[in-house]
């Protein structure tokens, strides 16, 4: 072949043309961006089914990744919404273990002392009551349903942010009589849907006056039967020691209050106190899902890779089938570079079609999942842009070899194909 010889000549700086060597007329014209796109798309239009199927491969990969990112973002948005609503300034104080490993007790006056701390907006408490609650007096004693009985201060709902699903919270009157407020899970387990029913609590009949809505910051109250402080002491043998103190601190003093809580709750032995911030625990629980998210993203990446291989395959076949077209374009004046560009563009368009479809599909998947979970739908823009850019990249990689092959094809060989 003479081509290498010609290249050598060029590198030696020999004049390429004997006559009319200068002037733009002997250099090929550049194709405008619109023409590049049109020529690249022409090959796709001729084979819609194949284009659809190979774009689908890419779309599934992108949709998987967008879906994973979208669902985890939506879940985080939901958490943020919850925290904004519930507040992140709730702190709880509970007795830990003493030096000898036995359960410690909070002093009776700890609730009042905490409530009077500077920086504290409100404080309230519950105390565990050694009693069990049953639907009626015929239930076997072992079937407690995991429901705890708690004595509560009257200001508990304000401090924790509890809301009623039905009925009313305890008041100064009902807290002295056998009246009970059920957490949402407790009510369900006891088969109580509306207030004014009786439950068998501590071997006595208690009347349900209200049912709580569940609260993400105080999940322990969901499975509790809550009675008044006074009635617990007078009828259920409650010792008056609180077991959990709930407190709301001013937003900018949460950390300062947190540090002082243990010493305030039990000045004699602060080491026996456990202080926690439920909103942190909620956030941490969501964070544990990160490993799982990473795994799913990896799977999406594998799907994307497989999609890329599909595009490469389609492009190789396309080049084989279109030798005559390549020959014709060369005879019409297309340079090797322009043939290469045509097939690269085609491959990238193909992949981009899949990418855009995949982003759309991913958004739909996210929206459907978020809807069923009652979350807001959030797909970060960077994920969408990243998805499309990734497919352009894949298209370039997948199309490179076929495009180079197409460009290398000698025009005579291409035209010889029937």
């Amino acid at each position: 072949m003479n081509r290498p010889k010609m290249r050598r000549g060029k590198h030696k700086g020999l004049p390429e043309v004997a006559v009319a060597a200068n002037g733009p007329d002997d250099l090929p014209a550049r194709l405008g961006p619109r023409d590049v796109l049109r020529v690249g798309a022409a090959g796709l239009r001729a084979r819609p089914l194949r284009v659809f199927l190979s774009a689908l491969g890419i779309a599934i990969g992108i949709a998987a990744m967008i879906g994973v990112v979208g669902i985890s973002t939506s879940s985080r948005a939901q958490l943020q919404e919850t925290l904004d609503r519930l507040g992140t300034n709730l702190l709880t104080v509970a007795p830990g273990k003493d030096f000898f490993g036995s359960d410690a007790k909070l002093p009776k006056e700890s609730v009042g002392m905490i409530a009077r701390m500077p920086g504290v907006l409100s404080g309230s408490g519950t105390g565990s009551v050694d009693a069990k609650v049953y639907r009626n007096d015929h239930i076997d004693a072992g079937e407690t349903g995991g429901i705890s009985v708690q004595a509560a201060r009257l200001d508990l709902p304000q401090t924790v942010g509890l809301t009623m699903a039905a009925g009313n919270w305890l008041n100064a009157g009902t807290s002295r009589y056998p009246a009970v407020v059920l957490g949402s899970a407790a009510a369900e387990r006891l088969g109580v849907a509306t207030p004014n029913q009786q439950v068998w609590l501590g071997s006595q009949w208690f009347t349900v006056v209200g049912i709580l809505e569940s609260n993400a910051l105080a999940p322990e109250l969901d499975s509790a039967a809550i009675v008044g402080w006074e009635v617990a002491q007078s009828r259920l043998g409650f010792d008056g020691h609180p077991t959990t103190v709930y407190t709301r601190a001013k937003k900018d003093q949460v950390e300062a209050v947190r540090e002082l809580l243990a010493a305030t709750a039990n000045p004699e032995s602060p080491n026996e106190i456990e202080v926690s911030r439920p909103s942190d625990a909620l956030a941490a629980e969501k964070a544990t899902n990160k490993a799982f998210t990473g795994l799913l993203l990896g799977l999406g990446g594998v799907a994307l890779l497989v999609g890329g291989v599909g595009v490469a395959n389609t492009m190789v076949i396309s080049v084989l089938e279109r030798r005559a077209e390549i020959g014709l374009r060369r005879s019409l004046g297309a340079t090797r570079g322009q043939i290469r560009l045509q097939f690269l563009t085609e491959s990238q368009l193909l992949a981009a079609l899949g990418g855009i479809g995949g982003v759309g599909l991913g958004i739909v998947v996210t929206a459907i999942y978020a809807l069923t979970q009652g979350w807001p739908t959030v797909v970060p823009p960077w994920a969408m842009a990243g998805g499309v850019v990734a497919t352009l990249f894949i298209g370039a990689i997948a199309g490179l070899y076929p495009a180079v092959r197409a460009a290398r094809l000698a025009p005579t060989e291409a035209l010889a194909t029937p």
């Binding site: 010609m6 000549g9 023409d35 019409l332």
Partner: protein, 231 residues
């Protein structure tokens, strides 16, 4: 005057020591209407490839409007091909699913002509070949003769110095084929240099100059009387 295309002692050898052309020299002047005729295996296709700058000779020089083709890079050669040579093939090579006018406009795609201008000139070219009423027809809606006319329009839309037609009537019946030959004669009368490659002596006999190939050599190069050529 510089010939449109000139072969100087050109040989082409393919791998396996197959000599397709053996020391051929000829010159085609501007405005000529030439038939290159010979049986299959005589080197016609190789001749077409060399004249069309689609391939380079093993020995000798190909001059296209005075430029030595072997000294041009692929880019410059492509540009030369796109601007100065029009091709017509036996199998038409039209893009399916694309209207006649867009097929013809693609003849200007690589020449740097803006899209609107391409379509305007494509319309004129189609009118010139008598297909002004078929602008928006797709190839599958056209007859064989019409397809070849579209291909000819695509070849001449860029006003090339030379039109290379490779067996343009090979896929057509004789009446339609004669129509295509008439069209080529018309283009030649209007000043385009036309090279027709054919195995058919009867068709070749219709043209003013005939170059006969046999086993890679020119065995006859005859010009009809001047009066005939000028007619």
């Amino acid at each position: 005057m510089t010939p449109v295309v000139e072969l100087r002692e050109v040989s082409k050898t393919y791998p396996g020591d197959v000599t397709a052309l053996d020391t051929v020299s000829l010159a085609i002047e501007a405005g000529e209407l030439v038939a290159i005729v010979g049986p299959s295996g005589s080197g016609k296709s190789t001749m077409l490839h060399l004249l069309g700058t689609l391939d380079r000779p093993s020995k000798g020089t190909v001059l296209m409007e005075g430029r030595d083709v072997s000294r041009l890079s692929d880019r410059r050669l492509s540009a030369l091909r796109g601007r100065r040579i029009g091709f017509v093939f036996q199998q038409f090579h039209l893009a399916s699913g694309v209207s006649a006018i867009d097929n013809v406009a693609d003849g200007l795609l690589y020449g740097g002509v803006p899209p609107g201008e391409r379509r305007r000139r494509a319309r004129r070219a189609l009118e010139r070949v008598g297909l002004g009423h078929r602008l928006d027809h797709r190839p599958h809606q056209l007859s064989g003769g019409e397809k070849q006319r579209v291909a000819i329009a695509r070849a001449v839309v860029g006003e090339p110095a030379m039109l290379l037609a490779d067996e343009p009537t090979g896929a057509l019946d004789s009446v339609t084929g004669a129509g295509v030959i008439d069209l080529l004669r018309e283009l030649a009368r209007a000043g385009t240099t036309v090279l027709l490659i054919t195995h058919d002596r009867d068709i070749a006999a219709l043209l003013p100059r005939q170059i006969q190939l046999h086993d890679g050599r020119v065995v006859r190069d005859e010009r009809a009387p001047v009066a005939e050529a000028a007619r």
